[in-house]
């Protein structure tokens, strides 16, 4: 279970970043006091445009970033104080995470399995399962540097799941994947949900969100502007589909200003 309480993340910008973002302020509030919770056996989606704060939120849940304010608990463990325990129970995937191109997929699975403290038997079993599922066997002995983008993405997914985590966090899970692999991934995420695991995904694609997620939090400019089941969001916004609901919320937010300081 994940519980996010009054989470705020402020980045301090360097002069170079200030120039790049064309701002005179040296701080940027990426996430502004958000709270939500997600429980086992559901797929929770963070939906929003680029720069909404989705990735910052997921990276903070995954212990890569520390909250400026607020608390995040994963299975009851604080992501700052008990970061090692949290990392043991989550599998995190984002496009920014890459594998060493010099190694083979087989070695990479064994390496990350070892770092998660798995036995050799367990690593072999999980490798077999995940390689079969994502069709990695065909290129298991090739160097990662020689693989296509799609193959690398499949491997990244397998590596993030090698330790059979209780909580699976995927940032834009279908990005860079061909339509067949994308379908395999979304089907697998549903299967994980059926196994009682909590799956959190972020996406800016409405179709992915509406097809995959049980619950959604729509983020715009660092804030959650709507949260609940898709039906609830449609009902609250008085719209017929998610895309209309999103634009309705976006218009309302634009009237109220944004979260950037």
């Amino acid at each position: 279970m994940i519980q996010v309480y009054n989470f705020t993340k402020i980045y301090k910008l360097s002069k170079k970043q200030m120039a790049k973002q064309k701002t005179k302020s040296n701080i940027k509030k990426a996430v502004d006091n958000i709270s939500f919770s997600a429980k086992k056996g559901e797929i929770f989606g963070l939906l929003g445009p680029n720069g909404a704060g989705k990735t910052t939120t997921l990276r903070s849940i995954a212990t890569l970033l520390k909250a400026t304010d607020g608390t995040i608990l994963v299975n009851g463990y604080d992501v700052v104080k008990d970061s090692t325990k949290v990392r043991r129970s989550i599998g995190f995937l984002t496009n920014e995470l890459k594998m060493d191109t010099h190694f083979t997929p087989g070695y990479t699975m064994a390496f990350f399995g070892s770092l998660h403290g798995l036995s050799r038997d367990k690593i072999e079993r999980r490798t077999e399962e995940l390689f079969s599922l994502f069709g990695i066997h065909a290129f298991a002995d090739k160097k990662i540097g020689d693989l296509s983008t799609g193959m690398k993405q499949k491997l990244s997914i397998a590596v993030s799941l090698v330790h059979d985590p209780e909580v699976v966090i995927f940032d834009e899970p279908t990005n860079g994947l061909d339509i067949i692999t994308a379908r395999t991934v979304t089907d697998y995420l549903r299967a994980l949900k059926e196994q009682g695991k909590l799956v959190i995904v972020s996406t800016h694609i409405m179709a992915v969100a509406s097809r995959l997620c049980d619950k959604l939090a729509i983020m715009i400019n660092g804030r959650i502007v709507a949260e609940g089941t898709i039906d609830k969001i449609l009902k609250d916004t008085k719209t017929a589909d998610l895309e209309d609901a999103f634009f309705e919320l976006y218009k309302e937010t634009a009237k109220g200003g944004n979260a950037d300081v």
Partner: protein, 404 residues
Amino acid sequence: MFNVILRKELKRVFTDKRLIFSSFILPAVSIFLTYIVLGMMFSNMVGDIREHKASVYVQNSPGSFREYYDTISNKVNMNIEFIEADKIESIKDSILTGEADLLVEFENNFEAKTAGYLDREVPPEIKTYYNPSEDYSKDARGNFIDQVLNGYEREILADRFGNINYTTAFVIDRTNEEGVIVNEEKAKGKALSMIVPMLIGIILFSSAMGIGLDTIAGEKERGTMSTLLLTPVKRETIALGKVAGLAVVAVISALCSFVGIMASMPFASNMLMAGGSGGIPEFTLGQYGQLLLIMLSLVGVNVGLVCLLSVRARSVKEAGSYVAPVFMIVMVAAFSTMFASGTPETYKFAIPVYGSISAIKAVLNFELGIDQFMVTVISSVVVTLILIKAITNTFNNEKIMLNA
């Protein structure tokens, strides 16, 4: 977990043919070939100067000199030409361009002035013109004075005193066979300590630098560091695994370079030992142990510095720009020990890098005291621990590690 990361770091290097070549084989082979070529060039230069037949021009020479020269001309490696006064300027020009080596000009009435030694205040003069920036010319002047003019002077004095034995007032060390009081091993060590400590200092740093930039900055640039940081391994363990992996690689790389130096010794000993007697001194086991500990602790400092600078950089290129000035400082520290005479004060052994290279020099000179050894090693270990602490702290800094 430390072992898993260390093994991965080593596998990364030892299964990559390009890295093996660039980190281990290339430095060793290039040092070997460089020193062989430089050594051969040095030997050739020395041999060439020795075999060179000097072109010497003598003007206004007295008859007695010509007679004397005829008696020794087959013993000296010179081609002497007697010239008239009008050629002096053109010979000077030739000396400047290297076509002639030496011009010797006798004072007018030289013989009369030497014969009338009782009636004059100053002895007659022999002027020499040479080019000290040319080895042939400089050598020709020395040889002409030693082998020709000194003998000619003795001939004049023999005439003056009526017996050649009267021209010798004393002889230095004619029967003293024990005059040279030297510890042969120490002498060999002194020759070795001229250049080798400086080379070791530079090689140990460049070995760490060669691969260290990629170990951390490269992983950050490629995005593989974040993947590692998501595992349930403490950041300190990841940092230590990487530092240890780099240390192992740096030591092996330095050993390969050292093998290259040692292998080139037979061909380059004259140059490497600054013209010393050659040969490796017989060090005791304790001294080898001291050398090993000093070098290992120096590797710790080097690896710590390279890792700390790499971890703060966003890319290999940026890390390179941070490490380059440090490498310059290391080179200055290494070169400064080359020209230092005597053993530095004990506190100077606490200066990172400089102290270690000075200590290596002192070991080779058989002059390193136990207090100086302890100061060197403890100082390097303390600096290494401080650097490791700084590296592990940096690993916990999200802004630096994730460019957040």
